[in-house]
């Protein structure tokens, strides 16, 4: 499997970082080094994106694995395009695939979790705590739990932009590229997300149903 040809290719391009397109092409040709590099390159981002939706670290790791498997399967299906892009020095939108798949996988997981009545502990906790401290000030930890949960209630596009920016740490240009929107649009969604989040948290603090 680990053919010498692709190993040599990796060495040849070692003076600069291999592009995702080159790594994808070499992975599809059976090069395990390219595969490992491709996973390592984006694994932090993927993990941070799915983390908000997961119950614990193991669940987040499981979601990350699922996102990668689906992205690699998408890469396999478009092998001819990938080979052409890599040869012509073009780029394959592997990172965008990965980001969008990770967001989908994570969101589906949250939906399934709700179906099985396994809401994240933070949600249950925050609701209990609001009641318990009705007359007192809500402390920082409680407010954080409430706010983090409210992020999951944001409308789809606002939530995607918000989590790519806050959890993924992407620039607005990168957010726009991943979601196929303009940078101005991404900024506008983020602004709306902040305002909506503020309303959701205020409603919860005042005991209103959100």
């Amino acid at each position: 499997m680990a053919n010498e040809g692709s190993g040599a290719k990796l060495k040849l391009i070692s003076s600069r970082a291999a592009t995702d397109a080159e790594l994808c092409r070499d992975f599809l040709a059976g090069d395990p080094q390219a595969f490992g590099e491709l996973v390592r390159r984006h694994q932090d981002l993927v993990y941070r994106l799915v983390r908000r939706y997961a119950r614990d670290a193991d669940a987040a790791l499981e979601l990350s694995q699922r996102a990668y498997l689906q992205a690699f399967e998408a890469a396999r299906r478009t092998l001819p395009r990938i080979s052409a892009a890599a040869t012509e020095g073009g780029e394959v939108p592997f990172k965008s695939w990965l980001v969008r798949i990770a967001l989908n996988v994570a969101k589906n997981q949250a939906r399934d979790a709700r179906r099985w009545a396994q809401a994240p502990v933070e949600v249950i906790d925050s609701e209990k705590r609001v009641e318990a401290s009705a007359e007192g000030a809500i402390d920082k930890a409680q407010r954080e739990a409430m706010t983090r949960d409210a992020v999951l209630q944001l409308p789809k596009r606002q939530r995607e932009v918000f989590t790519l920016r806050i959890d993924g740490g992407l620039s607005f240009a990168e957010v726009a590229e991943a979601l196929g929107i303009t940078e101005g649009n991404a900024k506008s969604h983020f602004h709306h997300a902040v305002k909506r989040l503020h309303e959701l948290v205020q409603a919860r603090l005042q005991g209103e149903p959100s």
Binding site: A57, L61, Q65, Y68, A71, A74, I101, K140, A150, V201
Partner: protein, 143 residues
């Protein structure tokens, strides 16, 4: 600049321009927004990755590799199963063709198509590929 435009810049720019800062200094609404959004964004952020999480994350490449190998094994199993099913159908069709004269003798009114055997042409390569595609795991499109 309107207050809305100022708000957008406040939450999307790491270093707001001098014009924005000047506006905020004199506008109560924008000052309140700046303070509340800063707190909100701090509250919404997840804690940094723990050492335990980092250790788990380092196992991801090998986990993904295992997942891919499992998927490949499953696919080749499905392909083998489909091939065997095709071969069985083909055998049955050949057997039926051999029995046909005798069946015709016994029941002159029964026609072959009523027996429900697949067409012999099913074993052609293009049709087999179509069948295989239907068995492939369908992954969501990245688009």
């Amino acid at each position: 600049m309107t207050c809305d435009e100022i708000e957008v810049e406040l939450v999307t720019c790491d270093t707001p321009s001098a014009a924005v800062l000047e506006h905020v200094a004199t506008c109560e609404r924008c000052r309140a927004f700046q303070a509340s959004s800063a707190q909100l964004l701090g509250d919404a952020a997840l804690p940094a990755l723990s050492l335990e999480e980092k250790a788990k994350l380092s196992t991801l490449p090998s986990r993904v590799q295992q997942g891919l190998e499992r998927g490949d094994r499953r696919q080749s199993f499905v392909r083998r199963a489909v091939s065997l099913a095709m071969a069985a159908c083909l055998g049955a069709a050949v057997a039926s063709a051999a029995l046909l004269p005798r069946i015709r003798e016994a029941q002159a009114e029964v026609v072959v198509s009523d027996l429900g055997f697949p067409d012999l042409e099913l074993a052609s390569s293009s049709d087999t590929e179509d069948e295989l595609d239907a068995f492939e795991v369908s992954w969501p499109s990245p688009y």
